[in-house]
Amino acid sequence: MASTGTLKVTTPSDREIAMTRVFDAPRHLVFEAYTRPELLKRWLGVHNGWSLAVCEIDLRVGGRYRYVWRGPDRAEMGMGGVYKEVVAPERIVSTEKFDQSWYPGEAVGTLVLAEQGGRTTLTLTVRYESREARDAVLRSPMEQGMAAGLDKLEEVLATMAREGR
């Protein structure tokens, strides 16, 4: 088993990004930290003055979730989707789409938690609608959407246009 704290990012196919990381905690805790709004607000996207201001979760198949981050200068970034599979505390499959998306289409994320000896290996695989969408995400991850706010989105779009997308 890998040691904790080493995130591995791979591209298993031309439409996917996969992340693997080990946490020094049993998986029911990792599952809670991923699915309880008051806990998600403590870590997800909390970065450079941004907070997860809205976090609504209806954790069941067909249920929706909605996240809105607020940042400096009243910038906002929202995303959400629908749960396709929910198997506590080991597996969640959900769709995801950003309100002002910098990549085309909807993505599907699969979260898998495997526990061994009190440690949890998290694998998150996100499958995008096209390789163009996947590459756009790799080129400018969520971080940039947040750091930039909406004005910068135009820059990203302009660069994509220059690239002939």
Binding site: T11, A25, V30, L39, P141
Partner: protein, 125 residues
């Protein structure tokens, strides 16, 4: 935040790079070529694979611009082209760094949750 090397390669080339890197044999070939150029026969040696099978992998790597052919007409040595590899790695690395930062916040939260759970357990007993 300006991505480094942005726009130097076409999306198709970058995609070819990522696809080329998705295979373990091709990653091993790249690792071997990072130590110096080699002929197809030399590249096939460490693998339980025929030369044509290795040639197929090399073709994918060549199409992605990751590998080129040397001048020696007899040996036709292959060598590593560093630039597309560097750019693909750069993207993955920035993406990785962002999420590593996120997960370190999660580490801290999990440590707290573990302590809280232990406390609850011990007061109940």
């Amino acid at each position: 935040m300006q991505p480094i090397g942005y726009g130097q390669l076409s999306p198709d080339q970058l995609d070819a790079t990522f696809m080329a890197l998705a295979d373990p044999t091709r990653r091993a070939i790249i690792a071997r070529l990072a130590t110096g150029e080699a002929s197809v026969g030399e590249l096939a040696e460490p693998f339980a694979m025929s030369q044509p099978a290795i040639s197929k992998h090399l073709k994918v790597l060549e199409r992605a611009g990751l590998v080129s052919r040397g001048r020696d007409a007899q040996r036709r040595p292959r060598r590593l082209e560093a630039r597309p590899l560097a750019q693909a790695t750069e993207w993955l690395e920035r993406y990785r760094q962002f999420w590593e930062g996120q997960f370190q916040q999660l580490d801290a939260l999990l440590a707290e949750m573990k302590t809280a759970e232990k406390k609850r357990g011990s007061t109940r007993r």
